[in-house]
Symmetry: C2
Subunit: 208 residues, 2 copies
DNA sequence: AATTATGTGGAGGCAGCCTCCGGATCAGGA
DNA sequence: TCCTGATCCGGAGGCTGCCTCCACATAATT
């Protein structure tokens, strides 16, 4: 198990993973305005044209110079991340509400939400999931957020005996990430594939 | 406009899908020699440095001019495909031998072989699977080969009642492809994730 | 209003993609 | 063997996108 030990920090004591993820926003008014403009332009550009969109195009779209874009996001990755992080935060917040459902239902719903969501942001997900477990600074904490959000749901399901207990949230997310990255498949089909994978995770009480 | 659309005549009037996968080889001696050189260089370059390798580098490596490379492979895709096709053919041929095993074992073994194999060729697979179901001329027939090889194994397993029968080979391959594309995971971990997914496909005779 | 810290934007250097065509090379006939 | 047309080679060059750098502009502060 080379990569970061997944089973480690699922429940990490991260206090406000939800807010502190986004890299420090600039302070001056114009800087902040441009920062937001770039993110907005990037989000729509990535969503529409995939992650291949040129950064120069995004800058143009945002009405700023290419230099400004690079000032805020020194790397293509950084920009991808900034956009991605926002989206993930939103997703994580949904986990809280799912706690009301039955263990399995909650877990499955979260997984489905993840895929569903990713389906629309495939461009981002596809590019970013490639860097999971790599030297991704900000992305690591983002992943931690996902863990923190999904981990409890998984553990609850495992405690209830409806999910095999030899998996951790990192693996589940990787599995889902892999399915998410299937391109050329209808959203409905992806959901079906997910349900198959979930079925592999499930453990029927009277089973075995 | 992400990718250019020179997807014109790469295909040519392909006769047989099984053998004619590789695009028509050139006729003149020197041309054919260079064609083979480029493919060889591309294979090792892609395997070593991932699919990001520059075409110019491949041309240099092959000892030919960049123009020559483009003459034979008008598109980056075309080159990727040419290399990929050869590999897939080899994989497909292995399916025949698996027919001796039990239905489930044969099916699972094939799936594992697929992942195993892809793991080494991740660079290729990752890039190419993105184009599944897209306007990929030659690649389509290549996929057909995969279907032809894996389909019977799946059907046999379904007939024996050990695999749920509401899936087809295309979905299975997509599922596996998705898992294959999980990066940052150890081969062993990927195999575990596959086994989970396979478990979702499996149908125990006394189950349900 | 003046000063200073901070931010802007695009020119420019670099690399990779791809096209184009003058010249080299091959194949077949005299 | 030599000639000749068909075929193929290869790299210069145009283009786009990545990223850096810095003279200039603007917000914040005094």
């Amino acid at each position: 198990m080379s990569t970061t030990e997944p089973t480690r920090q699922q429940t990490a004591p991260t206090e406000q993973p939800a807010r502190g993820l986004t890299s420090a926003r600039p302070k001056r008014a114009d800087a902040r305005r441009n920062y937001d403009r770039v993110i907005a332009a990037a989000r729509s550009a990535f969503t529409e044209s995939g992650a291949e969109t040129s950064l120069e195009g995004i800058a143009r779209r945002a009405g700023v110079g290419i230099g400004t874009l690079y000032r805020h996001f020194p790397t293509r990755q950084a920009l991808l991340e900034a956009v991605y992080v926002e989206e993930v935060e939103r997703l994580c917040n949904s986990a809280a509400e799912l706690a009301r459902l039955e263990p399995w239902e909650a877990f499955a719903a979260w997984a489905e939400g993840l895929v569903d969501y990713m389906a629309t942001k495939l461009a981002l997900a596809s590019e970013l999931f490639d860097y999971v477990d790599r030297d991704a600074p900000v992305f690591t904490s983002c992943r931690a957020s996902l863990f923190a959000a999904g981990g409890p749901l998984l553990q609850r399901a495992q405690a209830a005996g409806v999910v095999r207990d030899d998996v951790d949230i990192a693996e589940v997310i990787q599995l889902i990430g892999g399915i998410t990255k299937i391109q050329g498949a209808e959203p409905a089909q992806i959901r079906r594939l997910l349900s198959i994978a979930l079925d592999g995770l499930r453990r029927h009480p009277r089973d075995d």
